[in-house]
Symmetry: C3
Subunit: 349 residues, 3 copies
């Protein structure tokens, strides 16, 4: 799978170029791993030294970094938007490497009442129950389960071993990675005689368009109504989203974070890895919650939060600096007590 530099430039958009446009590269590689058959990326000034010394056959860099790569004398592509250019370049190889649609595998189990769009692919051992509707161009890999009445939008890709329980709706251009469970019962009980009695969960899950959902994520169905994920939101692996949660558009929910029941995230919220959000909490649009933080109250205005309980990031850093100063504070207090001829107060643990 090789591309000429001229093909690459055609794919990535506006660029300056120094070198031989007929030079051919076989694969993208990192600055360190690249050889003459590779094209590589220099997008962070931290790696200027490696860029100067790379053995790559072609270097892609940004206009603002080009001066740092001046000593690299091979083929050089210089672009205004480096991330976009690199993503498009990777896309060239991705198209070659990707699975092509294969139609309906005879070993899939598809109910006769299912409505299929055009050019749908369904993999072996996938089970699709009554009245499911699948949009044009959708690709369902092997070993998935779609319960009764599930709706899948056009061009959505569902990787192997995904479970979507009954009546949940998935938008268009959605990507669902392996092991995801959508629409399991929410976690709801009422107490009676020292036991926990199950509250039926008759709601559903509704996923917008252009959403991506990472491997082994769980998104529970609502008690009633729907748990909702807004269009353009990207969810990383092993995230937990509880019943009746409402997530806005274009949010980033990083790996292993969890959102408890009925909480509401505005558009563009970012949750760092392993962050937690309590139940019935509202988080203002555009808020960033740092990794591992625990949000236990409403965030009424856009903010950057960290720690548990989560607070404004600058306050957290200021308090942390004083926390690290505790040995000195303690020494000073001891000295002052001595000077003032006072006893230390009795312990109160």
């Amino acid at each position: 799978m090789a591309f000429k530099i001229s093909q690459i430039i055609a794919a990535i958009g506006p660029a300056k170029f120094e070198g031989d446009p007929n030079f051919t590269v076989e694969a993208p590689a990192s600055l360190q791993d690249a050889g003459t058959q590779n094209i590589t990326l220099f997008s962070n000034e931290k790696y200027a030294e490696q860029a100067a010394g790379t053995k790559a056959g072609c270097l892609l860099t940004a206009e603002k970094l080009a001066h740092l790569a001046a000593s690299f004398k091979g083929n050089k592509i210089i672009v205004p938007h480096i991330q976009e250019a690199w993503a498009k370049l990777l896309g060239l190889w991705d198209r070659e490497l990707s699975e092509q649609p294969w139609g309906i595998d005879p070993k899939a189990v598809v109910s006769r009442t299912v409505r299929l769009g055009k050019n749908v692919s369904i993999g072996a051992m996938t089970v699709i129950e009554d009245r499911v509707v699948i949009g044009d161009g959708a690709v369902i890999y092997p070993q998935c389960f779609l319960g009764r009445g599930v709706i899948i939008g056009a061009d959505t890709v569902i990787y192997p071993q995904v479970v979507i329980r009954e009546r949940c709706k998935i938008g268009s251009h959605v990507i669902i990675h392996p092991g995801v469970v959508i629409g399991a019962d929410g976690y709801g009980y009422y107490p009676a005689n020292g036991k926990h009695v199950k509250i039926p969960q008759i709601g559903t899950v509704e996923i917008g368009d252009d959403v991506e959902i990472g491997a082994n994520v769980t998104i529970d169905r609502a008690t009633m109504g729907a748990t909702r994920i807004g269009s353009g939101t990207k969810i990383d692996n092993l995230v937990q989203i509880a019943h009746n949660v409402q997530i806005g558009k274009n949010c980033l929910i990083v790996a292993q974070s969890g959102i408890a029941g009925s909480s509401v995230l505005g558009d563009g919220v970012i949750l760092g890895g392993q962050a937690g959000v309590g139940d019935h909490i509202e988080i203002a649009a555009g808020t960033i919650v740092g990794g591992g933080a625990g949000v236990i109250g409403d965030v009424k205005e856009k903010d950057v939060l960290w720690g548990t309980p989560a607070r404004n990031h600058r306050q957290v850093m200021r308090l942390l600096a004083l926390y690290y100063k505790l040995p000195e504070i303690n020494e000073a207090v001891k000295k002052l007590l001595k000077t003032a001829n006072l006893k230390e107060p009795a312990g109160k643990h």
Copy 2:
């Protein structure tokens, strides 16, 4: 799927009613979403305003909240136990929406040595190995795996893509959500020459009756003996339960929490979301561990804990208040040092 109010009242038990018992509702909905075709719930005084303004065709509320809903003039059901009544109401729709038992799917792979109770359902692509025993009325969805000698109790429901490895025992009336793995090897090694050598895990897992296990939960088999989950315990999504853990009856283990090897939780313990319990720890019955807390020592008496290392909740709150006061404490110490004409002690970071 519509019910007359008289049918609903018959299902939920003792209630006062104002309005037309022949009025028909199509579905439950929230105060905000409800229209005349819906029945809605008013169970929290925080939402009194929405209750007054709801467009629902019927309102269900509690005796002690009824005065706050006085301005709602439509059909009104007033009950003593609101959560129980609402759960029973949802159950009416749940029964209609639920999958009906379907018998043994011809595309299931069931060993001839399996012993099946009456009215068992087994879904397509499920694999059931030698000498498995399945109780009356149990429902096994598609694509599950039950290893040799697994025992499943009566009326237990196992959703798609659950793995239960060999010789594990599941009680009656248990619900296991998709993606759960029961009986994978515990995480045990001994060091030898700088490497980690596997300790065989020959034990099993034993799950009591009326247990519910959330999506993508992992419960490891014991090194020897059994990892045990007591009857009535409810486990949320993505929880990790290590080998030889013993969990009591009627516990609540909220999403993404984890319990390390050989720890013992008494009856009725509650672990909040993302909480962690170290290995070989005992937690007294009735203890509540807050979300994100890390328990690293025994909890000998029933307590409410939070933070890492987890401590009594009130102590944690008191210390946190002083932590937030560190800027003032630091200022005061500086002023005192100045007044006393003392230097600040050298840093000791």
Copy 3:
């Protein structure tokens, strides 16, 4: 499944023995659970009392603990390396209990272009796509998915419902537990017009030899190049490993911990349960990160870390001791202010 004590001693290596070598035991059991038909383990002096009182038919203990078990008068095996001996003993039963290789199940779906070694087993409903290569003696349980071009080493065991996406490489003698997802797309986007645009993930995952991967773990494929797990590393359940992470040899990655993109762990690193490592971080070989800790910066030299942000464990304990002393420090400051006739400074929250 019973063994004579003489057979057990033959299996576990050098040992002293007191009693009847023809005595037969049926199963290993804990000190408390054991009866005359059981062999039990006494490996921790904490349990000396239980050892003295156990009803086991045979006791295995270490040379250095033997004096504490002097009052136990039954069959007694005394060994120099207790963990190794016990692991070998459990292995006797494990071999009896384990599934035997079964060949290629006719209900597996195996592409004609797959290359199979000798004595390979493949379970029902497993789907193996084009050009997969599987080494001698490998065992693939039912309902797995191996994408195009995946390579599996000799004697590797893959439990049910594992997904390995295209082109990933798995070493020899690897154990992969149920529900694991290897090679899902890394979590990478670039911002454009307030949206997140997917960066294609064209790399792979490479797993060394003798690696063990716990249930429902997720290991993402690299953007380019490979996410790598070194030989001998053992990963517990529900761990998240992001794209381009490089993990050294013989590491221990305990349950629910997570490692963000491009981070590098040296050989022998230990991550405790629920620990988190930020992106682009390097952790020196031999470093131990405590449970729940959050590593947000490079660890340049071998260290023992705890807390968030993670710091040297001793420093953390010292600061924590002062934190618990805050009530006294606060009291002392108040008293000093009073003595010095100064006002408390105004709040600065």
